[in-house]
């Protein structure tokens, strides 16, 4: 059963609606370009979305991501923010890796950022292939773009550290690398807790954010040339699960080596809060780091992690100035206790920052809803308890802000049971029975259910045998959509 007609049919419908709505727009005094936005991808507030869509390497600049988040926060759309939230977690890992996954995440970011018009929202549902879709949906393995080449280009002109970092749609944030000498594997630092091959000149910490990953990439680049590195990286990223696991290990031997060394560095660094804050203090208070490679490396790593979270939390403007380097050897193992940001003398981990943003988004969303007025009633009661949870979560967070302890990251307690208990609509009638067939369907209407919308010509029943003739229908089943002129069905009760 093919659904290739669906695209053209839907396109025609969209055109038809747009044309016939044009006069309504005029009468309403609404500018015509709103109509175009309705149809296509909304341009504002994402001016780079269009060029982004055309971008062949499918990398999302951090700026776009942050703009999306900022917009979601500002517009206080809880749903989209939540969706975006899910993406940010994975995307940030990608960004740190310097890799961006999959068109799927990209599409969801579009939706989450509310940059979608009718067509792109429709495409995002993925029910059919549409004429306006970008031509090939890339395979995940291919869509994982190698990031080193752009870095490598940067590497060639290392003498002048590039300042312009905030080019939207650019494949990778340009890092202002300090002058570097290529990595030499096997050289051990006298301080065994740090990476070898740290030959950087001392630089102001905020500028010099080169990491072992970049050097590893640069080393690969030196060894294999840019094309080889590209393919190697593609292979490497293809070998990793799409959703940016916590424990992703690159395949490359060199990468592994770097990784192990980095882990060693992390472990020794993660030994205690004391040491961490000491290093951070040093980074921020003495911008000129010492010559000792160990010091420098520790400060840089803190710098890297310190710079990523505030981007997300600030969410607007001047992102370019704080671009952290991408992490190319997979996410660190103990980043949660490792990443720190200094904020008014307090030390915040990435996790804390995340939950801070999340709390903000959810507060905003709730604010917009007027405390659940726009929710279905059965959910409004649930949201009451959610609010309590939320307050609890905020308190928890504040407490841990001081204590920097482990915190629960898998959301609050399950509300579902409570929601059922609190069903205030129940009037003890048979119609309230949630097990009844048609009622249970109501829950699925929110998502993409299996549903056929049509008109009937004939519905006949003989005993328990039913025969129906339907026409002009739209059928959504298994995530695909089909249109039909006539459908005949036979089923027994």
């Amino acid at each position: 059963m093919s659904n290739k007609d669906v695209g053209t049919v839907y396109q025609q419908i969209i055109q038809d609606v747009v044309e016939s709505s044009r006069v309504d727009f005029e009468e309403g005094g609404v500018d015509e370009h709103v109509l175009e936005e309705l149809k296509l991808v909304s341009l504002s507030p994402f001016p780079h979305v269009c060029c982004f869509r055309r971008c062949t390497d499918f990398l999302i600049s951090k700026k776009f991501l942050i703009d999306s988040l900022a917009s979601a926060i500002h517009s206080e759309v809880l749903a989209s923010a939540r969706e975006l939230w899910g993406d940010i977690g994975s995307l940030r890992c990608c960004l740190r890796e310097g890799q961006l996954p999959l068109a799927g995440v990209r599409a969801r970011v579009f939706a989450g950022g509310r940059a979608s018009g009718w067509q792109s929202k429709l495409s995002q549902l993925g029910v059919a292939t549409f004429p306006w879709d970008p031509k090939p949906e890339p395979q995940p393995a291919i869509a994982n773009p190698p990031t080193v080449p752009s870095n490598a280009g940067n590497y060639q002109s290392m003498g002048t550290p590039p300042i312009n970092q905030s080019q939207p749609g650019l494949s990778m944030p340009q890092i202002s690398n300090g002058p570097r000498i290529k990595a030499e594997p096997g050289v051990e630092s006298p301080h065994n807790m740090n990476q070898p091959s740290t030959y950087q000149q001392p630089m102001p910490a905020l500028q010099n954010v080169s990491t072992a990953q970049q050097r590893a990439a640069a080393h690969l680049q030196q060894t294999y040339g840019s094309r080889a590195t590209a393919s190697i990286n593609a292979i490497q990223s293809g070998g990793q699960p799409q959703h940016l696991q916590q424990n992703g290990q690159p395949n490359m031997q060199q990468m592994q080596m770097q990784m192990q060394q980095r882990q060693a560095a992390m472990q020794s660094q993660g030994q205690g809060m004391q040491q961490r804050s000491h290093v951070t203090q040093e980074q921020y208070n003495q911008l000129m780091a010492r010559n000792a490679a160990s010091r420098m490396q520790a400060a840089q790593q803190n710098g890297q992690h310190a710079q990523n979270p505030p981007q997300v939390s600030n969410g607007q403007g001047q992102n370019g100035q704080y671009q952290g380097p991408p992490q190319t050897d997979g996410p660190g193992d103990d980043e949660e206790s490792f990443g720190v940001i200094q904020q008014g003398g307090e030390v915040m981990g990435r996790v804390e920052i995340d939950s801070l943003i999340r709390a903000q988004i959810e507060r905003n969303g709730r604010h917009m809803e007027g405390g659940g007025l726009m929710l279905p009633l059965r959910k409004a009661s649930a949201s009451q308890s959610q609010r309590q949870l939320e307050q609890q979560r905020v308190r928890q967070f504040q407490a841990q802000n001081r204590g920097l302890g482990e915190r629960q990251m898998d959301g609050g307690d399950d509300d579902d049971v409570k929601a059922e208990e609190l069903d205030e609509d129940a009037i003890n009638s048979d119609l309230d029975d949630p097990d009844e067939g048609l009622n249970e369907e109501e829950d699925e209407d929110e998502g993409m259910g299996h549903i056929m919308l049509c008109m009937y010509d004939k519905v006949q029943r003989v005993k328990n045998k039913w025969k129906c003739v339907m026409k002009d229908g739209v059928l959504t089943v298994n995530g695909r959509e089909y249109v039909f002129h006539k459908a005949s069905g036979e089923y027994e009760w």
């Binding site: 038809d16 016939s20 309705l38 067939g437 919308l453 739209v474 959509e481 002129h485 459908a487």
Partner: protein, 115 residues
């Protein structure tokens, strides 16, 4: 059934294309870029448009079989919940199976329609 001034079923607003449109309109309204009245007009245009296009442009036929779990007929609307359903498109040997599908179906002959 495309007579002038006639209203059309709002049934298809629940389809993916209708949902996408509704979503987009919601966004535009919440951004205060259009008025809700305009959105209602657009949705009315959509109702008409999808009805006409489905009637005129689509030729595909399909058959389906399954077990009827629940049926309901209310206000001239048939609602079926069919389980273990198999759809078969004509001109194609391929079939699509689903555990269950809900059918919402309005009367193709509207009351007062000359046909």
């Amino acid at each position: 059934m495309a007579a002038n001034g006639q209203s059309f079923y709002e049934l298809y607003r629940r389809s993916s294309i209708g949902m996408a449109l509704t979503d987009t309109l919601d966004d535009l309204i919440s951004e205060r870029r259009i008025e809700p009245q305009l959105a209602m007009k657009i949705l009315a245009n959509f109702d008409r448009s999808i009805t006409e296009v489905l009637a005129e442009k689509v030729k595909a036929r399909l058959t389906f079989k399954g077990h009827l779990d629940t049926y309901r007929f209310c206000d001239e609307v048939w609602t079926f919940l069919i389980k273990d359903v198999t759809f078969k498109m004509e001109n194609s040997s391929q079939t699509v199976q689903a555990d269950k599908v809900k059918i919402v179906s309005c009367n193709s002959k509207r009351p007062g329609d000359p046909q």
